[in-house]
Point group: C2
Chain length 99, copies 2
């Protein structure tokens, strides 16, 4: 498997590792999403000052309004985060290049 | 770095590995996208019968109509592909479970 294919597989695996825990086994509850962010994105939640961050994320992404995130609703979260990281990286790279 | 963070980093790294080649160093041309798909998603292009697949993909994703894909335009392609893979996986899993 290539690096890109492995990344895609990891995203699916990580989602299901947390989704399968309680309640609906194929979606993330607020509690499961919180756990996923804390364990898998440890640098993300600590930078967020708002204690309601997880609720806000679910509200933003939950298209069918069932208070849970299925995989299709979860992917835009990681996609958006990756785009933000890339912008930060590009900016840093540009600044370094100009020195 | 966690598995999910590594996946996000890989996506950025793979994109830039191909984007930096010719012309605009921060976007994928049609030629660069074709190379990326052939090398990094070897199972994807072979299943597509249409020889114009790469042109169609660019046309679909190229929001600012410059015939190139920047990172923000590229991410939805991988996101959509991952969602399709997950659906396939879930369907397969469900069928297996019912046996």
């Amino acid at each position: 498997m290539t690096e890109l294919e492995k990344s895609m597989e990891s995203l699916i695996t990580v989602f299901h590792r947390y989704a399968k825990e309680g309640g609906n086994k194929t979606t993330l509850s607020k509690k499961e999403l919180k756990k996923l962010i804390e364990n898998e994105l440890p640098n993300f939640l600590t930078t967020q000052k708002n204690p309601d961050t997880v609720s806000c994320i679910i509200k933003d992404l939950d298209q069918n309004k069932d208070d849970e995130l299925d995989f299709e609703e979860f992917v835009p979260f990681v996609a958006g985060l990756t785009i933000a990281c890339e912008k930060h990286f590009a900016l840093h790279h540009e600044k370094k290049g100009k020195k």
